[in-house]
């Protein structure tokens, strides 16, 4: 954690090297061409098979981007401010509910709906963060657990009262006159948004307040002794991260165009925690990687097991009849292995690898 802070500080001091610009240009090119590649499934006229593209489609990437907002905001909360929360699905639900009220019921335009969702999330975050004034650690996690169920119940009541039994509908995702009607349009809307949020969170950590937050995470009593108002800071962090999550929830609702309370179950909540752990707590790039791994890996595993081909007997029984269970089992085991052998997540592994490579390079 400290190594990352030092390094980013050092980077700031040095002038951006020409290599860095090249990397950025390459990344931009890839990101811009990706949706076309995933939709056309061919490159320069050469048709790509499904497995060559790792069994991934553009819808998946879009959903990954939407969920990434949750991962980034949870990482901000947990890794940087030291608050663990299982309540993120609840904030997605709050966002979806606010979007339903302002968008589907009151007919506000889409951009305003998103802002409203963010504000609703901030308010909810403030309320949900109140127990943090009283309890810490595991007990606080449990309070978020309780909040989760209460919010989902509220959503269910809202859905049954104001809308059809099949769910809450969301229409008209339009920005001015441009409608988000195809996955490609969604991609080009979501990508800059996620990049913006990432930039926002990263910069907020570099401010005085951000450093105060990290001090609070590292050693609360010492931070308090240094004059940092811990309680206020905690609530602020909670409100900020919940606002982002709520916006993610509104986007999720509009993307699926119909949601029910069951969408925001405990499984949904747990996936955010899984993402930041896999990616590496406290690391924003880690949250990005974690979201990608958690959402794309099952499809890749499914695709790979489908390649296993024609086999008979016990293997057939497991591979064909129980393929989905096998995918789940492999997936769970990968997470377990990662947790045991790479506790700092993929980002942590990458940092260590980079350090080792740099050391090796400077030595030779």
């Amino acid at each position: 954690m400290t190594a990352t802070v030092l390094r980013s500080g050092a980077l700031r001091a040095a002038a951006p090297s020409p290599w860095r610009w090249l990397w950025l240009a390459l990344a931009a090119a890839v990101l811009l061409y990706l949706p076309i590649l995933l939709t056309e499934r061919q490159i320069f006229g050469f048709r790509l098979s499904n497995m060559m593209l790792l069994n991934i489609g553009l819808s998946q990437v879009n959903l990954m981007l939407i969920t990434m907002l949750g991962a980034l905001s949870l990482n901000y909360l947990t890794g940087s401010a030291g608050l663990i929360s299982i309540g993120h699905a609840a904030f997605y639900a709050v966002g979806a509910m606010t979007a339903a009220i302002t968008g589907s019921q009151w007919g506000w335009p889409f951009p305003l709906v998103l802002i409203a969702a963010g504000l609703g999330g901030a308010l909810a975050g403030l309320l949900a963060g109140l127990p943090s004034l009283r309890v810490r650690g595991l007990y606080f996690v449990l309070s978020t657990f309780a909040v989760h169920y209460l919010v989902v119940f509220a959503f269910m009541e809202y859905q049954f009262k104001f809308f059809d039994v099949v769910g809450v509908p969301y229409k008209n995702a339009t920005l001015g006159s441009w409608t988000l009607s195809t996955p490609m349009r969604w991609y080009f809307f979501l990508l800059p948004l996620v990049i913006f949020i990432y930039w926002l969170l990263r910069n907020s950590l570099r401010t005085r307040e951000g450093r105060a937050m990290q001090a609070m995470r590292d050693h609360e009593l010492a931070a308090t002794a240094n004059g940092i108002d811990v309680r206020f800071l905690r609530l602020k962090a909670f409100a900020f991260s919940s606002a982002i999550a709520a916006m993610g929830g509104a986007l999720y609702a509009y993307y699926l165009s119909n949601v029910t309370s069951e969408f925001f179950g405990i499984q949904f909540a747990i996936q955010f925690i899984a993402m930041i752990i896999i990616g590496g707590m406290g690391s924003l790039p880690g949250a990005v990687v974690g979201a990608a791994v958690w959402l794309l890996l099952p499809s890749i595993i499914t695709g790979l097991t489908a390649q296993a081909g024609d086999t008979t007997g016990l293997l057939r029984s497991v591979l064909v009849d129980h393929k989905p269970q096998l995918v789940q089992a492999i997936f769970g085991m990968l997470v377990i292995v990662l947790l045991i052998f790479a506790p700092w997540g993929i980002a942590g592994m990458a940092t260590r690898l980079k350090a080792r490579l740099t050391a090796w390079w400077s030595r030779s």
Binding site: N55, S59, Q60, L63, V165, G167, T260, T302, K323
Partner: protein, 411 residues
């Protein structure tokens, strides 16, 4: 002079060659038609299935998929349809609605299929409804029914499971007549869900025709004890009850009623029929429980379709499932898919399949269900029912009457 003749001969030769080429091309096209971007190849057709293969609903939807795959396999063993075998690509919805959006994209462009069957999740159907309606892939035989996807009738969508309004009518009609009650008092025991509320409404409508009343009592889907609900039943004293939910709902309700010495007859919706449910209810409470179903479980009668299905199930190691209504439902939708594919002709494309189906067709299941009639305006699906019970002594199902006997309740 000479040049003109050579010219003419050259032209004739060219024309002959062109005609020959066109002829060969036509012949070969007939024999080797393929359209990979729609899942049609020289020797196989890719057909998609989107169901919950893992997670809480997999107990029924996984079995449905097995039934579907079993029928398709039996057809493949006989050579397939028009020389092509049917390759089933089953995608798991993993009880995650967002996953279905991903799966639909996969089945339309990544591993394209000619058509999709199943679609077990109602929320996914609603979410995907605009995309499906505006797309090109037909949905042949849905497992569940939702308004946005089926109303108004779309040439792309065809229902594949028992329709609820007719289910309610048949059940209420049969019970009212059997119990000889004048104005039946009915209670609906349901899980807290959208479908339950809707079903209760259908029951209310059906009961109204007989001048009776109905009420609703709900429970959690993961309930472990239903004392509160049974106490409500005791308070209201209905003539009969009907159960909507999952297997557990039926089991807990029947067992609790037995515990309280209640002998109120009950009938469950078509989904709630499997040997496990009957075994869990037990031989003491079981005789009071029947199921109103549009499908006939294995062994309930001796129709040709029933025997064929039982034989195939035993052959493919599905013996434990053949008495499960979900298996039968999957098998019958398999029949629907194959018969629709036959209608599309030797050069099937998505457009041809849709055109053939939307003209109207009838699915013949050889007795497993009443003939499923699809007209240009009605794609609802199997809508004829009969009551099925279980004989604990003989350890098999008993069907009460034929599908035609229940026609009188459909008015």
């Amino acid at each position: 002079m000479q040049d003109k003749k050579t010219e003419q001969r050259g032209l004739l030769r060219k024309r002959l060659l062109a005609a020959l080429a066109a002829g060969t091309l036509a012949l070969s096209a007939q024999a080797q038609f393929e359209s990979p971007s729609e899942g049609v190849y020289k020797d196989r057709v890719d057909w998609g299935v989107m169901m919950d293969l893992s997670g809480p609903a997999s107990g029924s939807q996984g079995i449905w998929t097995n039934g579907f795959q079993a029928y398709v396999r039996s057809i493949n063993e006989k050579g397939g349809v028009n020389g092509r075998r049917i390759n089933v690509l089953a995608e798991d919805s993993r009880f995650n609605p967002a996953q279905d959006k991903i799966n639909y994209e996969k089945l339309s462009t990544q591993t394209p299929v000619l058509a999709i069957s199943g679609m077990g999740s109602s929320s996914s159907q609603v979410s995907l409804a605009p995309t499906i309606r505006g797309g090109k892939i037909p949905i042949v035989g849905t497992y569940t029914h939702t308004k946005p996807l089926s109303e108004p009738t779309s040439p792309l969508v065809y229902g594949g499971f028992c329709t609820y309004p007719e289910m309610a009518k048949a059940g209420v009609g049969y019970m009212t007549e059997k119990l000889k009650v004048k104005s039946p008092k009915v209670m609906v025991v349901s899980i807290e869900s959208a479908g339950g509320v809707e079903y209760a409404q259908f029951i209310a409508d059906a009961v109204k025709k007989y001048g009776g009343t109905s009420s609703l009592v709900t429970m959690k889907i993961t309930a472990a004890d239903v004392t509160p609900q049974v106490l409500e039943i005791i308070k209201q004293k209905p003539d009969f009850i009907t159960i909507y939910g999952v297997g557990n709902t039926a089991i807990l309700t029947m067992k609790a009623m037995h515990q309280y010495g209640l002998k109120i007859p009950a009938f469950g919706i078509s989904y709630l029929m499997s040997p496990q449910i009957y075994a869990a209810i037990g031989p003491e409470a079981g005789p009071n429980y029947n199921v109103i179903s549009c499908f006939t479980p294995g062994g309930a009668d001796q129709s040709a379709g029933n025997k064929e299905m039982m034989a195939a199930a035993d052959k493919y190691n599905h013996s434990a499932m053949k008495e499960d209504v979900n298996y039968v439902a999957g098998w019958v939708v398999g029949q629907m898919a194959v018969q629709a594919l036959q209608l599309a002709g030797p050069q099937p494309t998505r457009a041809r399949l849709v055109e053939a189906m939307s003209k109207g067709f009838t699915v013949n299941s050889n007795g497993l269900a009443a003939p499923i009639v699809m007209t240009p305006t009605d794609h609802a699906g199997p809508s004829r029912f009969r009551m099925i019970g279980y004989d604990y002594g003989a350890k098999k199902y008993v069907s009460f009457g034929e599908f035609a006997d229940y026609e009188k309740y459909m008015k």
